[in-house]
Symmetry: C2
Amino acid sequence: MNEQEKLDRARERVIETISQNMNLYGITPSIGRLYGLLYFKDHPMTLDEMKEELGMSKTSMSTSVRSLQEMKMVEKVWKKGSRKDQYQAEEDWHQTFVDLFTTKWRPSISINIIAIEKSIFEMERILEAKEVTEEIKAAASDDIKKLHNALQYYDWLNRLVDSFESGEIFDLVSK
Amino acid sequence: MNEQEKLDRARERVIETISQNMNLYGITPSIGRLYGLLYFKDHPMTLDEMKEELGMSKTSMSTSVRSLQEMKMVEKVWKKGSRKDQYQAEEDWHQTFVDLFTTKWRPSISINIIAIEKSIFEMERILEAKEVTEEIKAAASDDIKKLHNALQYYDWLNRLVDSFESGEIFDLVSK
DNA sequence: CAGTTCGTACAGTTTTTACTGTACGAACTA
DNA sequence: TAGTTCGTACAGTAAAAACTGTACGAACTG
């Protein structure tokens, strides 16, 4: 094995390992591998180049790179003389982590809160109703209490995401 | 629709919504639904009861509840007079979040660090080697720099997990 | 304007993951 | 000790996700 091969192999080990562990971020291995490829290239790449290096379809490259863009892990850059779109990886993983956390978590926190609030409202109507047995009211009351705890948790989570987004988290845990 | 049905429906909305959004925690919807069920029951449940309520196989309940246990979201409790195992949901979601984060992230951080360190070592050997072209050395040197950045990130992530585990995070973002 | 090139929607296929039913060991019961 | 009950391993099946190839609109080129 020559030195170039050794270097490639060492690089690929890291790409492979990281992409395998990216499911924690909600990222599939093949998308992770693409990110790894872009991370180690010191210049932007086109869809055709990615396709070539990973041996996958251009369609996959197109959709994968788009989802990486949505997660702000990759950005499109303009390069003179090329009609093709060029993409490069975001280099600062702290920033990537924060963005990922924010873009992924924020929407689902909102969805959960809305569902919980709606259910609390309906349960409170049950408590007010006349013809309801005490047993059902007790159950409703119990559920309402649990849902308020849940709301409190989601509020906390929202504030946690705030602290990520604002960079305040780096005061507690420095880079 | 009677009041009992209204209550059930309100409760199920929350369970369904939350379980759908649990993929962020790396939890499948059906496991999330099981957790939701346990969360709203104010008493521990057996595998047979879960099977009954969710209309799924006992095998699924057994494996699902085990993964919930591993994530510390559910615990087995002893109940006198019953030979069957009884399970109940962890109620404090802040704690659940912290545990989840810790148990899921810690191992994969370690794996990534090990792979990176191994590759850095190999790349440094390339730099020291005699018969290597300057071009390859430059590439190796570049990669090493990137890997050191990665290590720095994982160190940060480890300290972030520390602050979750120790509860220090709640100083920054209060409950 | 006709001819290219590029990126992506969409449908179909392959691969992966989730779920079920059978079967069996362990722990209890009489 | 024989008979139950309980939980789970394992193999097979059903469902879901990832990936590809075709096809086409948009943007460029001559």
